[in-house]
Amino acid sequence: MKRGRAERLRAGLPRYIAGRVVWALVAVAAVVTITFLLIYVIPSNPISAVLGGRANAAQLAIIERQYGFNQPVWLQYLHFWRQLVHGNLGYSFASHEEVWPAISSRIGATALLAVSGLFLELLFGVTAGIFAARARGTYRDRITMGVVIIGLGVPPFLMGLLLIYVFAFVWPIFPISGYGGISHLVLPSLTVGLTGGAYYARLLRGQLVEAMDADYVRASRSRGASESSIFVRHTLRNSILVIVTWIGMDLGYFLSGIIAVEAIFAWPGIGNLAYQAISTYDTPMILGTVLVSAVAIVTMNLIIDLLYPLLDPRLARR
């Protein structure tokens, strides 16, 4: 990953950026195409979704015409892109309303949860990782990593239910579900933070421990630099790139975790919308949410790609 970037960067920063953007667009197109085809390949009857499981021949014909189901798949596919270019994601089967306004009205809630969840993930992950690495080999290290292993093993929905049960039911400090002020945000973002943070803790500890034994660290130490300055300047700095890379690689998993958390806490985000769309077989809504998620993941990765030269000056200098 790192080497690939370095090589591409050698060709010059503008070209690197242009290349990344083109790849991002190709990735989005590919995701949409695959999703579109999957929906038509797997056993399905979108009309039954439109009519709620019942239709006579006359109604079928009307709905088929209205939604274009009577056309061949490739034509429907072209039509989908033609609409997309005009900023139209079609109409939901369930609500009979435009897909895009339904999605856009929910982006804010998901973004809020994602940003606060990611912040807590990093806060917990980095703190625990540093703590365990600096205490490596001691019981503090073992206890910290033991907790982390539990965090890794507990799926978000279970963590969410546990937090609800303890902090919203037994001790009713926070609301059980819903959307509103900061108090509504605490438990959902904690769920994301605790389950996701464990990955970062394990990853960072491993990186730090490795870096602590590196030659350049030992060299610094022999020059008499203080332990804390070595840690911040060398060990941590060299490990942080891995964390940033992981954020990019983890985004897909991160968003799927957000879907589960949104479902548990009745959080009015895109994840919940997708969850409902899948359970009612609302094809246009499924495609819309997939498209928006794909764009989000690809954009975040693009940003991380572009951040790389900043974080690792060696890459930009070549």
Binding site: P43, G52, R54, Q59, E97, A263, A266, Y275, Q276
Partner: protein, 538 residues
């Protein structure tokens, strides 16, 4: 009403079991409750906010599409009025109509409307608004799934074909009179008028908002929409222009969307909700807990659950096989698995409907007879098949119990537990789902709804996923559509005849249990389910 978007709290429900230390549902007895247990005493009180939650998104507030899921249905009937509507039971009363008459040939209804009815924005409602609303449902451009319900109105077909500008059979001689002419007498036509589809909309509002009308409903009903956050809360408030003085009782109704069943139970226990359905996972928490079950009520759902099969393929095209399967399944055991929340189905008509035959024998559990019938049918060693079911805990449990019963008579049935969308998509397809567990929930309280949807050939692959066809039964159902004299008796007879033909395996009629706060008057309406206009808080 076949398909409602299913709440998929499955995994979460099982997780909830872990920290509450629940055991798997046994045959625990349910506390007996009558239909109105623990209701507050005294006359209804005006005021207050009523809060309830649903596990789904409410898809729409457009009456043209509101007939297929519980949420949309209940909201729409709270915002829009109809010519006639139910009391707390199945009896129809005037709503917008203060009275109505039926002609001696039973083909012409004349409705006399209340005068001075206004939409919730203060604009006047007139008879022609009703015509507009029905035209809109029947118009193919609207593509309403309810359009077929109005095909018996004179001129509906011509209008649908674009030959006329309005349905000629609906006349409005003046602003407060509506005359509806039917092609044939149709005894349950007033029931159709009480469905969401026939609710009166404002033509000006529809013209203003077009396809976004669902977000901007304007009706003459007891409530109006205050706010609707996608995935969040839907808030209804009292319609200041409502035509019934003093009604509705509640100031405000809040419906939380997308709240998983188990979370709803916790919210109820914390006092945040006024009422909650008891999900299978909440049985011990609520139904068996003396703190909550004093205000527990039961509702006999107008449902019939069945084990369907593709009647047009081997071996199910053999009557003896279908009868054998009916004898093979132990229905009493299924009721136990449901914690008693069901009654054995001995016919298609559920206990809530006229024509239900309490004396019907159905198919008593008799594996020996099942084996004998299978042998006579030429399957002495049974056969292999697959049962489709949805993948929630309860459905899978039911399916496994049935599969074990079938195995006992030599029928080797594999259980395929599928997610709701795959199930709904494949259930009615030829070549898929040889057997499947599903149900029918009434659209309107007349047995014709059950017979026609499930058994007529025109509904093959849709509401008749069995591909069942029997010319004698077909004729009897068509006769029932317009029959009035001795209707209840005819329904009973037809039900008996259909049961003999065993188009599917009769399983059970479901029962819903729910609890409500002791200060809240709450019940489940037999047709509309939630009807906020009747609720009040002391």
């Amino acid at each position: 009403m076949k398909h409602k978007p299913y709440a998929c709290a499955l995994a979460m429900a099982s997780a909830a079991l872990i920290f509450s230390g629940w055991t798997a549902s046994g045959a625990s007895s349910i506390p007996k409750a009558n239909a109105f247990a623990g209701e507050p005493s005294g006359p209804p009180v005006r005021g207050g906010t009523f809060k309830i939650a649903t596990a789904e998104d409410i898809p729409t507030l457009d009456p043209a599409f509101a007939g297929y899921d519980v949420g949309s249905w209940s909201m729409t009937i709270s915002i829009f009025s109809s010519l006639v509507d139910y009391g707390t039971g199945l009896t129809l009363k005037g709503d917008l109509a203060k009275s109505w008459t039926l002609s001696p040939n039973q083909k012409t209804y004349t409705f006399h409307l209340r005068s001075g009815v206004e939409f919730s924005d203060g604009s006047p409602m007139t008879a022609s608004d009703f015509t507009f609303s029905i035209d809109r449902i029947v118009n193919p451009k609207t593509a309403s799934p309810g359009s077929y319900l109005f095909s018996n109105i004179v001129g509906a077909a011509q209008y649908a074909a674009g030959k006329t500008k309005t349905i000629s059979g609906i006349e409005t001689p003046n602003n407060t009179t509506i005359v509806i002419n039917l092609v044939k007498p149709q005894p349950y036509f007033p029931n159709i008028l009480a469905m969401p589809y026939a609710r009166v909309m404002s033509p000006a509002q529809v013209a203003k908002w077009g396809s976004a009308i669902s977000q901007h409903p304007l009706g003459t009903g007891p409530f109006e929409l205050k706010s609707w956050t996608s995935g969040g809360n839907m808030v209804l408030v009292r319609n200041p222009h409502y035509f019934l003085p003093g009604r509705p009782y509640l100031n405000e109704v809040i419906v939380e969307q997308d709240v998983p069943d188990q979370t709803q139970v916790l919210e109820y226990q914390r006092g945040e909700l006024n009422a909650v359905d008891i999900p299978p996972s909440g049985f011990e928490q609520l139904a068996l807990n003396s703190k909550y079950n004093k205000t527990m009520n039961v509702n006999y759902d107008a449902t019939t659950y069945y084990l369907g099969m593709k009647d047009n393929i081997k071996p199910f095209n053999n009557l003896k096989v279908r009868q054998a399967l009916n004898y093979a399944v132990d229905k009493t055991r299924l009721i136990q698995l449901l914690n008693g929340r069901g009654t054995v189905a001995n016919g298609l008509v559920p206990p809530t409907l006229p024509g239900f035959n309490a004396k019907a024998k159905g198919y008593a559990y008799d594996p020996a007879k099942a084996k004998k019938l299978l042998t006579e049918a030429g399957y002495p060693h049974g056969f292999s098949t697959t049962i489709w079911t949805e993948n929630d805990d309860q459905s899978v449990e039911i399916a496994q119990s049935i599969a074990a019963d079938l195995a006992a008579v030599g029928v080797n049935a594999k259980v395929d537990a599928l997610n709701a969308s795959t199930f709904v998509a494949g259930e009615g397809k030829q070549g898929q789902a040889p057997m499947f567990i599903s149900y029918w929930l009434q659209d309107f309280p007349d047995a014709y709804d059950f017979f026609s949807n499930l058994l007529l050939k025109q509904n093959w692959g849709g509401s008749n996923p069995f591909y069942y066809y029997n010319p004698t039964i077909e004729a009897a159902i068509e006769n029932l559509e317009f029959s009035d004299t001795n209707r209840t008796q005819e329904i009973e007879t037809l039900d008996t005849e259909v049961t003999k033909q065993a188009p599917f395996v009769y399983l059970y009629h479901s029962i819903t249990e729910y609890v409500h706060k002791s200060n809240t008057f709450f019940y489940i309406h037999p047709v509309h389910l939630w009807r906020f206009a009747d609720y009040w808080i002391k």
